[in-house]
């Protein structure tokens, strides 16, 4: 069942069509990647879901019902362009933002205490925001975003500004949130993290959704029958044998072995290829190569220019 659904959403700005009948269906309790080049319309869609702006046409269904204004209390949003009041104290500010999301003061205080302890940042409570580094501020923002235990979380480039250690901490927290039942929309240009975290994706380009589905399905759909073969033996001989049936993309030495990238011909499988290879060399490893989300992103966007 989808927790959030955008149905044929259209949004026009003056002369430009920001979203052109976009359909998105986010399954409950999953991590959903919203991908696309800069200016594709991701932020517009996210703003519509957050009711910062409204759609010109179409509808958003939240938890099965049309989105209503009180739903903002069930959504947590970490925008890409994010900031805090520089002159305000960290704790005071976190309390303020939590109360704006509908938490009572006491509740917010209790929860903030928990999270500040968990992230080991209690000492920041009485500091002014301007005294914190950018990464520290991001941590505070993350806490404020998830504090009210929203059932839908929207992260727009959450990892920007974090060092690898803190990025990892964040990743774990995001996975934890999913485990606790939250539905997460995740917008990023970091394709590595998409493969790692996302269950499903939509790729938006020029206001249109041009690719969608489960991450694994998408990668399968774009697979090019590429196989990586690690072997020891005569490279030229193998190349000659293989070229009779398949296309050898390249062979290069690797850690004392040879490694060949082979594009299999239509209709043949890995087993057939292995059977052939075993006769002519010593096989040390074999793996089908699925295209990375990065490659798919570039390919699909270029096709849709």
């Amino acid at each position: 069942m989808s927790f959030l659904e955008a149905r044929s959403v259209v949004k026009k700005y003056a002369s430009q069509l920001a979203l052109d009948h976009v359909n998105v269906s986010v399954p409950a309790n999953s991590i959903y990647g919203l991908l696309g080049p800069n200016g594709a319309g991701k932020t517009t869609l996210i703003r519509i879901i957050n009711q910062i702006t409204g759609p010109d046409e179409g509808q958003i269904l939240f938890d099965g019902k049309p989105l209503k204004s009180s739903d903002v209390e069930r959504i947590g949003y970490l925008p890409e362009e994010r900031g805090l009041y520089k002159k305000m104290k960290v704790g005071e500010q976190a309390l303020y933002l939590a109360q704006l999301k509908g938490l009572s003061r006491n509740e917010a205080l209790k929860k903030l205490k928990f999270w500040f302890e968990k992230f080991e940042i209690q000492a920041w409570w009485d500091k002014k925001v301007e005294e914190l580094s950018k990464g520290m501020q991001q941590k505070v923002q993350f806490i404020v975003t998830i504090l009210h235990k929203p059932s839908l979380l929207i992260f727009d480039e959450p990892f920007s500004g974090f060092d690898p250690i803190n990025a990892n901490l964040l990743k774990e927290e995001i996975l934890n949130l999913k485990k606790e039942g939250a539905t997460i929309i995740f917008s990023t240009h970091n394709m590595g993290s998409v493969e790692e975290l996302c269950d499903n994706i939509t790729l938006i380009n020029n206001g249109k959704s041009i690719l969608e589905g489960a991450v694994n399905d998408v990668r399968q759909r774009y697979r090019q029958n590429l196989v990586r073969l690690d072997f020891a033996g005569d490279a030229n001989h193998l190349k000659a044998v293989m070229s009779e049936h398949h296309e050898v993309v390249e062979i290069s030495p690797l850690n004392g072995y040879q490694t060949a990238l082979i594009k299999m011909s239509q209709g043949s499988g890995v087993n057939q290829l292995l059977a052939l290879a075993i006769k002519h060399c010593e096989v040390h490893g074999c793996q089908e190569i699925l295209p990375s989300m990065n490659d798919i992103f570039i390919q699909v966007v270029n096709q849709n220019k």
């Binding site: 700005y13 003056a14 910062i52 903002v72 959504i75 970490l78 900031g83 704006l100 999301k101």
Partner: protein, 443 residues
């Protein structure tokens, strides 16, 4: 609604706790009180030294005709003392010496005043006045008029003392002081003017801060942009009222304290000072005794309660109508340097209304006065200037109604620009762009 109050609280507390607010709140009254007290204090510092002047009169016509005063004494010396004085003045006991060489009726410039130090204007005036009086009396006598003394005696009794009396609707008479009413209303109008500028700019800066620090997107994912804007405007309005109240209370306290310390000098001087500030001089009997009862009666004559209520209404209305516009300007720009082009159309009506207000004092019932006290952008200041002149009730009611309508309109207008503006980054904005934002009817 509770979210607006949260925003309002933050806006209010974060400003009231600022050092600059506390400093201004304390310095303001000291400054005001100083403006009222210092001229009086300076006047009390006037030269108290006794001065001795020598007079050498070649004509012998004017001996003893210059009167001694408390601080100025004149000694009439023989003619031959002149050269002595000139050559050896520094060792003499005189502050200055006066030489009269000829009949002043025939030759008015035959008189000189010598000194080492610059002669004060008081001394010069005193000499000139004494001689002028003496000479005009001499001239009169030369006409040989019968019973001249009696005539002169009668002449000195002539006096004009106009009291302005306001007639109440029920025929009761009240003593009024147009000047005092004008002073008070001008102070009110000016306060409105000042606060609109100071706190309007704060609204603008506040909006800009939220936009440039990029916190705005986080906040408007929790509340509506309109709630954020109104929370800010009202929060800052409360800061303004707090400051106003503290200023009035502290100024009164300081004046009261100073008055207790220096007793009667101060109130007279401070009253005169207010009037001078308003560009109007009022004759207040400077006998030293100051009749508070009379002043109170004057104040009462223009209904202080009504005036105060109107002031509060126009003060708040004036602030609100401009604050929304300032918020729209703040939402359109990324830094203060860009604010100029959009500030201008907002500030012109404020400045214009102050000029009109000054003109209104001369003719409070003119067409200009009427129209500018109706137009919502100028009425807060212009109407305050007209209030003391007993203008018809329907005009005040209409003006108040139009101000409320105007406030609703500018807020609606500004909110449409604000809503789009706060999310626009790095775009060079012009009026065409603003108009597009305004026209843009998205929800």
């Amino acid at each position: 609604m509770s979210k607006i109050s949260l925003i309002l609280q933050r806006e209010y507390l974060s400003r009231v706790r600022k050092k600059s607010f506390i400093v201004m709140t304390i310095l303001g009254p000291i400054l005001f009180a100083g403006m009222m007290v210092i001229p009086g204090w300076l006047a009390s510092l006037e030269d108290k030294e006794e001065k001795l002047l020598a007079v050498v009169d070649h004509t012998n016509l004017y001996t003893d005709k210059i009167q001694n005063t408390e601080l100025l004494k004149f000694e009439f010396l023989p003619v031959n003392a002149e050269s002595d004085l000139k050559s050896n003045f520094s060792n003499s006991k005189y502050y200055a010496f006066l030489v009269i060489e000829d009949d002043l009726l025939k030759k008015p410039d035959a008189i000189r005043l010598y000194s080492e130090k610059q002669i004060t204007i008081d001394v010069k005036e005193h000499v000139a006045r004494s001689l002028r009086q003496y000479l005009s009396e001499e001239k009169l006598k030369s006409f040989d008029i019968e019973g001249l003394d009696a005539i002169m005696n009668e002449m000195s009794k002539v006096k004009v003392d106009i009291s302005t009396i306001k007639l109440g609707g029920d025929g009761t008479e009240k003593q009024s002081s147009t000047e005092l009413a004008m002073v008070v209303s001008f102070v009110f109008a000016f306060l409105t003017y000042m606060f609109v500028f100071i706190y309007g700019a704060q609204v603008m800066r506040g909006v800009m801060e939220e936009k440039t620090s990029r916190i705005v997107e986080v906040i408007i994912s929790s509340v509506k942009p309109f709630q954020l804007m109104m929370g800010k405007i009202i929060g800052i309005a409360l800061v303004a009222l707090t400051q106003l109240l503290l200023w009035v209370a502290l100024t009164a306290l300081i004046l009261f304290g100073v008055k207790a310390a220096f007793v009667k000098d101060v109130p007279v001087n401070s009253m005169q000072q207010i009037e001078m500030a308003a560009g109007e001089s009022v004759q207040i009997e400077s006998t030293g005794s100051f009749d508070f009862g009379k002043i109170w009666e004057m104040i009462n004559s223009f209904e202080p309660v009504k005036m105060l209520l109107l002031f509060v209404f126009y003060f708040i209305g004036g602030y609100l109508i401009y604050a929304a516009l300032f918020a729209a300007v703040g939402s359109a720009i990324d830094n203060e340097a860009d604010s100029q082009q959009f500030m201008l159309p907002v500030t012109i009506p404020i400045i214009l209304s102050l000029y009109v207000a000054i003109a209104v004092f001369r003719n409070p019932m003119s067409d200009i006065a009427f129209w500018f006290s109706m137009i919502p952008l100028t009425s807060p200041i212009v109407m305050m200037a007209r209030v003391p002149f007993d203008i018809p009730g329907w005009q005040i009611a209409l003006s108040m109604f139009l101000l409320v309508a105007g406030f609703i309109f500018t807020t609606w207008f500004a909110a449409r620009i604000y809503r789009t503006g706060i999310l626009m980054y790095g775009k060079k904005v012009n009026y065409k762009e603003l108009w597009k934002w305004f026209r843009y009817a998205g929800k």
